[in-house]
């Protein structure tokens, strides 16, 4: 690979249920990222937007929508949609532009305004759409998270208390994060008293949907040097691999897994970081901090194992021992994770990278992981989308 691509600016609009137009969140995040980078908006040569599907046509062409809102200045533009991995695909597009020499500096941006309650499928009678079909027969998003959680209980002996500890830990992390939506400490009793959503997961085990926006300014190392950003975190790897047939785990929105009659079964979640580690020339032993997609508390435990940060079945023990807290030997979700943010789909993968940027620069305040050198993200969305990004100092 040619010279490194580095992150020279990061910004976020606070997550919440603000009920305003998504464009405003994106613009606020972009302006913070531009200030952080110390460059003028008119210096940006490429705008890479992550799309939202819930805000009409402006959301489908998010890259152009944000470029217009910030003031047309002739930059080239692209929009990516890949469910929860939209932000990583937007990051990939921008990095490719820079690696190929077609741009020196780019804005990566995503924002969303979300409805209340369960995420629901598109309208109409559509029996050819697996997302429509599964809702018709009563299978919602928490169903899948709960099936994974129960599986952990059945094969590893995890308990609901083990899951609650993840919530308590993430809530503690998010307490001082001014960008988080939920900044409140919880006890085991609080989690146990929250209503059951999909046994064994309670309301406080499952993440909400939120409004929010996140942005990154990325640049060639040469550009960063030119403007005096000598210590900008480097993008060491981005993985957006698809699953390998036969995919072994039941995945949203499907009603059945692949059949493993002709080909052996593979784990998609484990494949995502495997490619990232290979590209970065690193392994789990190099990781100082991770931001993972805790759509549920139990799913954080799955990710810890899929990232190779401990052996299968050991993540609950790691959490019990306090190892996954800031200050522990393998801090997970120092931002507070989705537990404190709720999910703003096109912004979330970018927000993960924002947090790692601040962690690697030592700018994370009270939630700082001391001496963080390498950070990894992981997320997964519908229809075989997912991503894992590695940053290094």
């Amino acid at each position: 690979m040619s010279e490194d691509v580095v992150i020279i600016g990061a910004g976020m609009h606070p997550w919440g249920k603000w009920g305003r137009n998504f464009v405003g969140y994106g613009v606020a995040a972009a302006q913070e990222a531009l200030r952080d980078a110390g460059i003028d908006w008119r210096d940006v040569q490429f705008v890479s937007g992550a799309a939202t599907m819930r805000c009409g046509y402006p959301g489908y062409v998010a890259g152009a929508t944000f470029a217009q809102a910030l003031g047309w200045q002739g930059a080239e533009v692209q929009t990516s949609y890949a469910a929860c991995a939209s932000g990583s695909q937007a990051l990939t597009a921008a990095r490719s532009r820079i690696l190929s020499g077609q741009a020196d500096v780019a804005l990566v941006i995503g924002a969303d305004t979300t409805p209340k309650g369960f995420l629901a499928p598109a309208k109409g009678e559509r029996p050819d759409d697996p997302d429509w079909v599964r809702f018709r027969v009563g299978i919602t998003n928490p169903t899948y998270f709960a099936l994974y959680a129960r599986r952990r209980m059945e094969i590893y002996g995890d308990t609901q208390d083990d899951f609650a500890r993840v919530k308590i830990k993430n809530a503690q992390h998010g307490l001082t994060n001014e960008r988080a939506r939920y900044r409140k400490a919880f006890t085991m009793e609080d989690v146990a008293a929250s209503p059951m959503v999909a046994n064994p997961l309670r309301l406080m085990d499952v993440c909400a949907t939120s409004d929010g926006g996140a942005a990154l300014i990325i640049a060639s190392a040469a550009y960063a040097r030119k403007i005096g950003k000598m210590n900008a975190p480097k993008i060491a790897a981005i993985s957006t691999v698809t699953p390998t047939f036969a995919s072994a785990i039941i995945e949203m929105p499907d009603l059945a897994t692949d059949s493993a009659v002709a080909m052996e079964a593979h784990s998609f979640r484990a494949a995502l970081p495997a490619k990232a580690y290979a590209e970065a020339g690193m392994g789990p032993e190099d990781v100082s901090v991770a931001e993972v997609y805790d759509l549920s508390t139990a799913l954080e435990l799955d990710w810890i194992e899929d990232l190779g940060l401990c052996a299968r079945g050991e993540a609950a023990g790691l959490t019990r021992d306090g190892a996954t807290r800031v200050g522990g030997r393998m801090p997970i979700n120092p931002s507070g994770g989705l537990a404190c943010f709720g999910e703003a789909v096109p912004a979330q993968a970018i927000a993960q990278v924002c947090e790692l940027t601040w962690q690697l620069r030592g700018d994370a305040g009270e939630r700082q992981v001391e001496g963080a050198k390498v950070g990894i993200t992981a997320n997964q969305g519908l229809f075989g989308h997912g991503s894992s990004v590695i940053l290094k100092r």
């Binding site: 309650g117 369960f118 629901a120 499928p121 009678e125 029996p127 697996p130 429509w132 079909v133 599964r134 809702f135 018709r136 027969v137 009563g138 299978i139 919602t140 928490p142 169903t143 709960a146 099936l147 994974y148 959680a149 129960r150 599986r151 059945e154 094969i155 209503p195 059951m196 959503v197 999909a198 046994n199 064994p200 997961l201 047939f245 036969a246 039941i250 009603l255 059945a256 897994t257 692949d258 059949s259 493993a260 009659v261 002709a262 080909m263 079964a265």
Partner: protein
């Protein structure tokens, strides 16, 4: 009174011993549910030939949960909403996991991984048809309880 119609016509047979209707690639033997008849998804297989098959109507419970809140449309819920359990069942011959509701009256407390399960049909409410619609459900096998 005539029997309710299937919620998804052509997805399963009805009666005392119903089956899910899937397909099987004529070249590599991979099973599909729902039925696939276009291009085999095994990347090592270029087949476009499929047979329609009845999937195994018994399997082992892989994992389970329940729905404590009313799902959004297009699910049509009873009013008041009656929570239901959900099963992910591994089919041995097909080497695949299939989801479905669990029969009425069986909650998560009655379930554990590895439990033998069989396919049955039950009705779920429908927006138009007062008889409701038939849907496949999983039921713990009698001799295992």
């Amino acid at each position: 009174m005539s029997e309710a119609d299937p919620v998804l016509p052509g997805w399963f047979t009805t009666g005392a011993e119903p089956h899910l209707i899937g397909s099987r690639c004529s070249a590599c033997g991979t099973y599909y549910f729902p039925k696939l008849e276009s291009f085999c998804r095994n990347p090592a297989c270029e087949s476009t030939q499929f047979e329609t098959v009845e999937l195994s109507r018994t399997g082992k419970l892989w994992s389970f949960t329940d729905a404590c809140y009313t799902p959004p449309e297009p699910y049509i819920a009873a009013d008041p909403f009656i929570p239901y359990a959900i099963a992910a069942v591994e089919l041995d011959r097909e080497k695949m996991i299939v989801l479905g509701q669990v029969v009425e009256g069986v909650g998560v407390d009655a379930l554990r991984a590895g439990l033998p399960m069989e396919l049955v049909v039950e009705t779920i409410p429908d927006a138009v048809d007062p008889k409701g619609k038939l849907v496949w459900k999983w039921k713990p096998m009698e001799d295992a309880r």
